[in-house]
């Protein structure tokens, strides 16, 4: 039965709807985090036996292949960590907590559908489902400054890029008379060349570029990152990008694979522009969430290197990179979230003296940032190294040059965060609604006591992953290679 193949998504959707129904009763719901975690674990349990499958079902609407499995597992893990990391925020916002949990579960289900979409309609529907869920999530805290503005920006940009996406899809349909990705690829191989086809591809790139927040489709992301609730941003920054990467990969290699050499060039240019822009624009940022937004833009550029290489090693290193980027970025955002709970500040100056107040948080953030900067022996180093190797193998030495040079720049602004945390005098605590405690009380135990234990656990786990993947990366590299094996043999 086909239900089995969609069981993980169904489990998530059903539990999410159940949560929303329960919320209507108006009662306070205890144990939300545990409930959501249980739902995710259940979905994971349903997902696991599917790793042996490689098939399409429901008339080719959905695919179940190693690539889809890899990303689905990644999303489930990310969501689990995101729920734990959000515990502090949930405690502070009891009214919206059920919505947050339900929406994040729905979002996970939508992203999982997105990466297994086998034709254009299901792909578009899954993508829109995830976008609609996300802007609801982004606006969950309307009292935050700039929240409505940012949400509106997100909605409008999403609308514009959806229009591009649909337009591009209609071109493809017009050319081939089918919406099935594989069929499109076959039929396009037999059609005459047309510049309109090119336009179609670029329109599609616009749509996916919005999801990935790559240059020049990144405008919305710093504002949304700054204004949306931090746990939402943590999830948005990693899972949404990974899903965008997965669908771009499918469409451009399966449906438009005949033009691979040309797309490789387009992706190389976009990746280079994204890496350069993201890293340079991050330097003058004074808000840590904005800084991480630009850093995430540049990281998406590194992901694209894998597409630019258009080779199996390139793809598998990009898949590896997606996982390690998830871990390191989650650590960084959870620390920001934890500190925001304790002090109410996300501006860079607010992190002054963090090392003396909460050494664990400061060290975790430092290690996560160093990993993102590609310092060995952390995971980011292996990720960047394998990506560069793949790109050089594909003959694009200039791309590796840009990537490596800008990673030096990234270390500069990451270390600037370290400087603030370790050198600057402790900043004033300005928690909204509560009088700031006396300086004597701002010691490590007092602050760590204010952070939810599950948040600390999520930080510790993602940090452990970053360290582990750096020292012993082989198993995940193998898994990524396994997931990439269907592409380019």
């Amino acid at each position: 039965m086909h239900t089995r193949y969609l069981a993980p998504e169904l489990i998530l959707a059903v539990t999410a709807l159940l949560l929303l129904l329960l919320k209507v009763t108006g009662r306070r719901l205890p144990g939300l985090t545990a409930f959501a975690s249980l739902s995710l674990l259940l979905a994971g349990w349903a997902l696991w036996p599917l790793h042996e499958e490689n098939l399409s079902f429901l008339g080719g609407t959905f695919l179940l292949d190693p690539l889809a499995f890899y990303f689905k597992a990644l999303f489930l893990g990310t969501a689990l960590l995101a729920f734990w990391g959000a515990a502090g925020w949930v405690r502070r916002n009891p009214e919206t907590a059920p919505d947050f949990h339900a929406l994040l579960l729905l979002e996970t289900a939508a992203l999982m559908l997105m990466v297994s979409a086998g034709e254009l309609i299901s792909l578009y529907l899954a993508l829109e489902a995830s976008v609609v869920t996300f802007f609801t999530l982004a606006g969950l805290q309307p009292e935050r400054p700039g929240s409505l503005e940012a949400t509106l920006k997100y909605v409008l940009s999403a609308g514009v890029s959806a229009a591009f996406l649909l337009y591009g899809m209609s071109f493809l349909y017009g050319f081939t008379g089918t919406t099935n990705l594989e069929e499109i690829g076959v039929r396009l191989g037999a059609t005459a060349w047309s510049p309109l086809l090119l336009l179609a591809g670029l329109f599609l790139l616009t749509g996916f570029g919005f999801k990935l927040a790559i240059v020049p489709f990144h405008f919305w992301s710093p504002d949304v990152y700054e204004a949306a609730p931090t746990p939402v941003v943590a999830y948005l920054a990693v899972a949404s990008k990974a899903a965008g990467f997965a669908v771009a990969l499918r469409v451009f290699t399966v449906a438009l694979g005949a033009l691979a050499a040309g797309w490789s060039f387009v992706f190389a240019v976009v990746a280079a522009a994204t890496i350069v822009f993201g890293n340079l624009a991050a330097i003058p940022q004074t808000d840590l969430k904005r800084l991480l937004a630009y850093s995430s833009i540049s990281q998406a550029g590194y992901l694209l290197l894998g597409l630019a290489a258009m080779s199996r090693p390139g793809l598998s290193s990009a898949l590896f990179y997606a996982a390690l980027y998830t871990l390191s970025n989650l650590t960084a955002f959870f620390v920001v979230a934890a500190w925001e709970e304790a002090s109410g500040r996300t501006d860079l100056a607010g992190f002054g003296g963090l090392a003396r107040r909460a050494p664990f948080l400061a060290a975790a953030l430092l290690i996560a940032l160093l990993s993102l900067g590609g310092i060995p022996p952390l995971a980011g180093f292996i990720g960047k190294l394998t990506l560069f190797m793949a790109v050089v193998d594909a003959g694009q030495v200039w791309l590796a040059l840009i990537g490596a040079a800008l990673s030096v720049v990234s270390v500069y602004y990451y270390l600037n965060v370290a400087r603030v945390m370790y050198v600057e005098p402790p900043a004033a605590l300005a928690a909204p609604g509560s009088p700031a405690p006396a300086p004597a009380e701002q010691t490590s135990p007092a602050i760590l006591a204010g952070v939810a234990p599950t948040t600390l656990l999520a930080i510790a786990l993602s940090l452990l992953g970053t360290l582990l993947l750096g020292v012993y990366p082989t198993w995940l590299l193998r898994a990524a290679d396994w997931a990439a094996r269907l592409f380019w043999g």
């Binding site: 020049p216 040309g262 330097i283 030495v397 500069y412």
Partner: protein
């Protein structure tokens, strides 16, 4: 159950006992050189926070073990007259295969010995120097981390592992320069050091990628075999990129600017990392990858670049050192200059001479730093040599040790520096027959000899002779640093003087015996030896006339040289230049991009607050302005991409080739 852990445990104990005389060979012993300090780092960093004495004891015990193990490894390799290599697969997935392991040969074993010996003495010295510092156990944890990383670097059997540890020693250096992280100066210096050396590392990484792509291996032994068969053009590029990495770490022009600033770290750290070991890693790297630099496989260019960079660095460093007033900055520029000399030796195709000088330099330069540290500590962290003086009377042993180190570095026979420096100059001299650049390099080398003797003598006279200077107020930022209690102010404690005296021994005699231990060319060129000795004595004499005979109130060179002195004092204004360039280029570009991002998009919606959003005016603004702009950008971007693709596509598929694309 228990099979593999038990086996591991047995091997661990065997390897641990091996240096103490157990007869059975222990293959895991070299690995323990990395593992034990790493364990010490974790333990000292995590669990021993409240027991500083234990942290220091653990670090010192581990380093002492390493010293014995290194010595035994050295002897074993010498007896074997070969190489102990073990390489294991670390990462193997898809097309990537990376290895890790260790390789012990005469070069790496000698380097191990130097690292272990200097580390041990510096750690012992530090117990006194940092006594009472609140970060005491953190300091020893970092030192252990550094030792582990440095051993890993030296033992690397391939370029990849070397790169990993290359970055790790950089990280250790970053942590230790910024050790006093309550002060802004050290932390800025730490960041500068890290980012500057990473610029070089970036070149190294590219070189490694290129080499791997071309040769499909990064193993040193295999590369030495393969090198003659590889494309010389690629190898030339690879060699130059590897040298970029070496130039960053070993402070070669134009990347040398971080080293003088790195002196903001504690003085024992300067001695260990920024004089003896880590900064020599670049020289070690080139020596290790020397088969890739050979003129027969890579052409003449790479080694010529190495020699030229070395000569320029050596000269810049030596001249700048004569004009510094901070004792540690004098020594830092001296290190820059000596590292340049080692590179010159490599460039003259004599890696043996370069490594020989690396080893002797490690001993006498750390001796000089530790001696200076003792003097600085006694003067309550005063580092201005014009406010020190007459210290030979209260601290005679320190003065004696400092004098031995200084004379050795100045190249006065029969001390160590004389032999190793002459080996380098001799190599340059041999190249100079028939090569005009090398003749110029030889002249530079001779000038540097005289300058070295001059600035070292100046340092000695101003610190240790003459009348004691009045104690002024200590520089404000350093007030919290630990200093001697008034009662013990008379002389340095034994934990400091004993390492000094122990270092003075190799600084004095290693050169003579080293000639036998290392395969250095025996024959001394008598003209050259006589000439350099005369130059060294002339330098000392000049310093005596200017500073020793009668202590001047201020530096006579300031008036005599005028603007030239200011130029030298500032290190040729390179710092200024880089800061400005960096500001203009990176920050300017970043700010422009940032402004574009803000004004182009954000400016249009600025002021759209949630409350006014509901008013029709704002909605109109949002709908009418921002979206259209955004759409415009999107469309423009898409069409730009279209144009680029078409342009590229036409190139890819020339006329007629469009059939099936």
């Amino acid at each position: 159950m228990g099979g593999i852990p038990a086996q591991l445990g047995r091997e661990f104990w065997q390897a641990l006992a091996w240096p103490l005389g157990a007869a059975a060979p222990a293959p895991a012993a070299p690995a323990l050189l990395v593992v034990l300090p790493a364990l010490a780092f974790v333990l000292a960093g995590l669990s021993l926070r409240r027991r500083p004495g234990l942290a220091a004891g653990l670090a010192i015990a581990v380093t002492a073990w390493s010293l014995v193990a290194s010595a035994r490894l050295f002897l074993t390799v010498r007896l074997l007259n070969g190489e102990l290599v073990a390489s294991y697969t670390w990462v193997a997935a898809g097309g990537v295969r990376l290895e890790a392991g260790f390789a012990v040969n005469p070069l790496t074993a000698a380097m191990l010995l130097v690292v272990a010996a200097v580390s041990l003495l510096v750690q012992v010295y530090s117990t006194a120097y940092l006594a009472g510092d609140p970060g005491y156990s953190r300091y020893f944890a970092y030192l252990s981390f550094f030792t582990a990383a440095m051993f890993g670097l030296v033992l690397s059997p391939n370029l990849f592992q070397l790169y990993v540890f290359y970055e790790l020693v950089g990280l250790a250096s970053f942590l230790l320069i910024g050790f006093w992280h309550e002060e802004p100066g050290p932390v800025a210096a730490a960041r500068k050091a890290f980012v500057t050396t990473r610029l070089g590392d970036f070149g190294l990484l590219l070189g490694i990628l290129l080499l791997y792509w071309h040769a499909r291996t990064l193993d040193f032994t295999r590369l030495a075999w393969l090198a003659p068969e590889l494309d010389p053009a690629v190898l030339r590029l690879v060699a130059l990129l590897i040298f970029a990495g070496a130039a960053g770490k070993s402070a070669q022009f134009p990347l040398h600017v971080w080293l003088p600033d790195a002196m903001a770290g504690p003085t024992p750290v300067s001695a260990l990392i920024h004089a003896a070991t880590m900064v020599a890693a670049g020289v070690f790297l080139v020596a290790r990858a020397f088969p890739l630099f050979a003129p027969a496989v890579a052409g003449r260019l790479p080694l010529l670049v190495v020699a030229a960079a070395g000569a320029v660095t050596s000269f810049l460093g030596a001249t700048a050192a004569t004009a510094q007033d901070d004792v540690k900055r004098v020594l830092a520029y001296s290190t820059v200059s000596q590292l340049g000399l080692m590179m010159l030796g490599l460039g003259a195709q004599s890696s043996t001479a370069a490594v020989f000088h690396l080893i002797t330099h490690a001993f006498f330069k750390s001796l000089l730093f530790l001696g200076a540290g003792a003097a600085i500590r006694r003067c309550h962290h005063e580092q201005d040599i014009w406010r020190m003086g007459g210290l030979a009377r209260p601290m005679p042993l320190t003065a004696l040790a400092f004098a031995v180190g200084g004379l050795s570095l100045a190249g006065v026979p029969p001390l160590s520096g004389f032999y190793s420096k002459d080996a380098i100059l001799l190599a340059v001299l041999e190249q100079a027959r028939g090569s005009r650049p090398h003749a110029a390099f030889l002249t530079v080398g001779l000038a540097v000899s005289a300058l070295t003797a001059f600035y070292l003598a100046r340092l000695f006279f101003l610190i240790f002779t003459g009348a004691p200077q009045e104690e002024g107020p200590v520089s404000p930022g350093r007030a919290h640093r630990p200093g001697p209690a008034p009662r013990e102010a008379a002389a340095a404690p034994p934990a400091m003087t004993v390492p000094l005296l122990l270092l003075a021994v190799p600084a004095a005699v290693l050169g003579y015996f080293g000639q036998r231990l290392l395969p250095v060319k025996e024959h001394l060129n008598q003209t050259l030896a006589g000439g350099t000795t005369a130059l060294a004595l002339a330098g000392i004499g000049a310093a005596w006339l200017l500073y020793g005979r009668r202590r001047p109130a201020r530096d006579p060179l300031v008036a005599a040289l005028g603007p030239v002195h200011r130029l030298l004092r500032s290190g040729y204004y390179l710092d200024d230049l880089y800061t400005r360039l960096g500001n203009y280029l990176v920050r300017g570009l970043a700010a422009t991009l940032h402004r574009f991002d803000r004004t182009a998009v954000d400016g249009l919606v600025n002021g759209v607050a949630g409350v006014v959003l509901l008013s029709g005016r704002t909605l109109r603004r949002v709908q009418g302005g921002w979206v259209q702009r955004y759409l415009l950008y999107l469309v423009a971007a898409v069409f730009l991409a279209l144009a680029a693709w078409l342009w590229h596509g036409l190139e890819l598929y020339p006329a007629g080739g469009m059939g099936r694309w």
